[in-house]
Symmetry: C2
Subunit: 211 residues, 2 copies
């Protein structure tokens, strides 16, 4: 293995940070569709190409912002996983908080739940993996809650990790109805109702021993 080490080039962190800050600031003024990569680069004082060097695409840059916002997400989830609550209650509130995160940051949610294909661009792929790790990290908390419930005999025996993935991806599917452009779209109220009911049903199904 040729792991030739080297001190990291400070320029890299610098332009990366300049882009993130410029993009974040610009996005507070202008919706993403009306904001061109040229404009972002101009405000960051770097070349357009640098966006692709660092993030792989315009969506990648946005995703990098979303990844930062996962710190926010962690706060949401902190509210859900409180130890005094029963595991079932924790799942219910995790679902509610996850939905709330979407309602507060719809763009970021979409990028985390349904990341755009990075193509063959290495920077984009790397970023994607990084985001996946963050998501996984969050799901780990759900896994923990489920495992406790299983160990306590409250929930049917099953792989807690798989169960968490089911829960999380099912929520994603439901919440994605919030931005459909057709008649199948659901509004906030409907989403709340749906996610609540679904989580209720699923937890009921978990409590019952397998037939």
């Amino acid at each position: 293995m040729s792991t030739a080490k080297r001190q990291p080039d400070p320029r890299r962190a610098q332009t990366r940070e300049a882009l993130l800050q410029a993009a974040e600031a610009a996005l507070r003024e202008t919706p993403i569709d009306e904001l061109s990569v040229a404009e972002i680069a101009r405000q960051a004082g770097v070349a357009v190409t640098s966006i692709y060097n660092h993030f792989g695409s315009k969506a990648g840059l946005q995703a990098a912002l979303a990844e930062r916002a996962m710190d926010v997400d962690r706060q949401y989830m902190d509210r859900a996983y409180v130890d005094r609550r029963s595991p079932v209650e924790q799942l219910q509130s995790a679902a509610a908080e996850y939905l709330q995160f979407y309602l507060d940051y719809p763009d970021y949610f979409r990028l985390l739940a349904f990341p755009p294909e990075p193509g063959r661009n290495p920077a984009g792929q790397e970023l994607n993996e990084q985001i996946a790790r963050r998501v996984d990290e969050q799901n780990a908390r759900m896994v923990k809650a489920l495992q406790q419930a299983i160990d306590a005999g409250l929930v049917r025996k099953a792989n807690a990790r798989e169960l968490a993935t089911i829960l999380w991806s099912a929520w994603n599917g439901m919440i994605s109805l919030g931005w459909r452009a057709d008649g199948l779209r659901k509004n906030e109220k409907q989403l709340r109702k749906m996610v609540t009911l679904a989580t209720d049903i699923i937890t009921a199904g978990l409590l019952k021993p397998p037939g």
Copy 2:
């Protein structure tokens, strides 16, 4: 209302059909990413602009093909909703067939489950609504099975339509893990397992009366 009627212009159907056929044929040879709208238009013998007149976007054209493919989807679902089966069995096989449809036609599945935004283009919006109607039509069969189960006292009392939406969107969320570009992606085997387990849990939860 100024509903001035008029005979439909045959040219419209003609170029539409030419585009659909050319696109379908071309897509058998070339993946969508490597197929330009210019090339499709050329093979159809029409102007590029016509694609936008009729379908709103390149994705719209693909979606129109997917809409046609819903006849295929319907056939898959026919296999699931067999009257001799119990409602719960019907749901299980519906889930399995839906997943199979994705496995056989991943591109079409994606367009139906997660339709791209049509923007402000009227043609694209119209197409989107059309697809939504088809999807709704399919879900109606699930609604029917659920309603029967509710009426028979097998399943907790709830709005069958809502339940069907939950089931369908949850499946979408799980199946979407099949094309994630990061470490969270699931392969065919894992998807089967997950969808089966999830449907099992959900139906178990449905059977149990609400606490």
